[in-house]
Symmetry: C2
Subunit: 309 residues, 2 copies
């Protein structure tokens, strides 16, 4: 799957991923109205609204992008109905040839981590039958529990040729509270980064490992260090756009081969029509606003990478 | 909810929680057969089997215990159908007067953490209607992202009078990989424990905070230290029984008031009929084996607490 991700990136010339994190207040009035008319102001109605919203955005952008990253929390807040919309979204993105990164930030131990891995990346046995639940291509995973928490995910990834992005240095302001604390002269995130390189070493694709890392765009200097700590790990970079990261900040997350990083934008793309810059599209044409925002984001990053050469 | 948890513990005289973590291979043949006959060897069939299994165990034990802790991964592995069984289980346990600790180990930032909090502990607005998704009483949360990741959960907990158990020192063998690393002379888990005390200080119940911690039974000496670092936080203690923790190890997790800790057992209770000790019950009467295992566990812990006085 890392090979497919890289080939998708090369085909589109766009090292980006669109975060499908649909808050209900991003969904234009006309879609909400239609869904509520059909299903009422219920969890089912909300789930239908975010699914319709996602579908239009995917239809308007899929030819420009290699991957999407649905944030499961935005679906889980609507319970079982929301999770049906999550599954529909994953399946639809696959139909469109997109790589799907499930932003699930799961993490537990032993058989419990294995159950998460099976549910999101693998297959589960029921009697003598093999069934499949959510079927993403990559999942994000939390490292706080150590190797016991990661290993069951890696094992399933090996079976299924799928991948992980492990939280190393997150994009939020207080991520340093624990992640930056100094241990034997180096911050915790570097120790975690080293482990990511180690966990990834025996699950390699053609040029990069199936086991990647999450490092926030908001911490470019740390990204520079981590790039070297995990040379063979793809870095998923959140925090671009709405969280403050800019194209120029991203240069250090890439390797000299122009690969090695994939930059996420969620709100900046899916709610683009709410920005002044894209207001001309109007709520009716929100998906075209998203398409324009994708083009601008790719341009911003390409220019920055070009300048850095 | 912390007051209700404590009152349930006092009523039952049982500082324990039953982990409803149903692996399909714990579910007796006769239940699986019946479910598969009705729904086929499908995700729906698996979900029905674990729900029927849970229901019998709850029916056989609810009068002896204050709380249950369903591990959502075991349901999530069966996708949307599994999550329906999770919701049914939560609702049924509420009907029986039990406190429900959702072992979800979620953790993200800002609006994403808020979405998880809303989905599991709160209410979500759809149009002008207030809806409810999973509705547990407590949730377990991962602290790796720092205060930004915890605060949105705490905010919802305050609104709803619900609570959290934050991972501090987990029960697994490799938990020390990051959690035990020394920062300014003290292990990371102590720094996290201190934060738990801080986060919990402004959301107090009558005698304990709504914000508790997870500390594994397998690390009793660390439990002793953490008990003092977070005197007002309830400690959820996994790792008893199958993972190797014994009654005598648990003494230090409690305060002098005899409160402050609640010990989880999952496999040891729900799959008790598979142990030699309870084999006489047979697979047909698996729920009675679970009841016997609950009685033995309460006895083991009470004896240990009595001896320590």
């Amino acid at each position: 799957m890392i090979n497919k991700l890289i080939s998708n990136i090369q085909k589109t010339n766009a090292p980006i991923v669109v975060g499908l994190d649909p808050m209900l207040n991003y969904v234009p009035e006309h879609i909400q109205k239609k869904s509520f008319a059909e299903y009422g102001e219920t969890l089912e109605g909300a789930a239908d609204a975010i699914w319709q919203f996602n579908k239009e955005i995917v239809d308007a952008t899929y030819d420009l992008i290699p991957a999407v990253k649905p944030q499961i929390a935005m679906y889980e807040q609507f319970g079982v109905e929301g999770l049906k919309a999550f599954q529909k979204t994953v399946d639809y993105c696959h139909e469109k040839g997109l790589v799907v990164i499930g932003d699930v930030k799961r993490g537990d131990i032993g058989s419990t981590s294995a159950a998460y891995a099976v549910g999101h990346l693998g297959k589960v046995q029921v009697g003598n039958t093999i069934c499949q639940a959510f079927n993403e291509d990559f999942a994000t995973v939390n490292p706080y529990l150590g190797t016991d928490g990661i290993k069951p995910f890696v094992d399933i990834c090996k079976e299924e040729k799928k991948g992980l992005f492990i939280l190393v240095k997150t994009s939020n302001p207080s991520s340093g509270e624990f992640q930056d604390r100094i241990i034997d002269g180096r911050p915790l995130y570097e120790w975690v980064g080293e482990k990511v390189a180690e966990w990834g070493a025996d699950h390699m694709g053609d040029s990069y490992s199936y086991i990647g890392a999450v490092v926030g765009a908001t911490y470019p200097e740390m990204g520079k260090v981590l790039r070297k700590v995990m040379p063979k790990s793809y870095i998923l970079v959140p925090g671009y756009g709405a969280q403050g990261g800019k194209g120029a900040d991203l240069v250090h997350f890439f390797n000299e081969d122009g690969l090695g990083a994939i930059v996420n934008s969620s709100r900046g793309i899916i709610a683009a029509y709410k920005q002044e810059k894209y207001a001309k599209f109007g709520a009716e044409h929100f998906a075209e606003a998203s398409r324009a925002a994708v083009i601008d984001m790719v341009e911003d990053i390409s220019t920055a990478l070009e300048r850095a050469k």
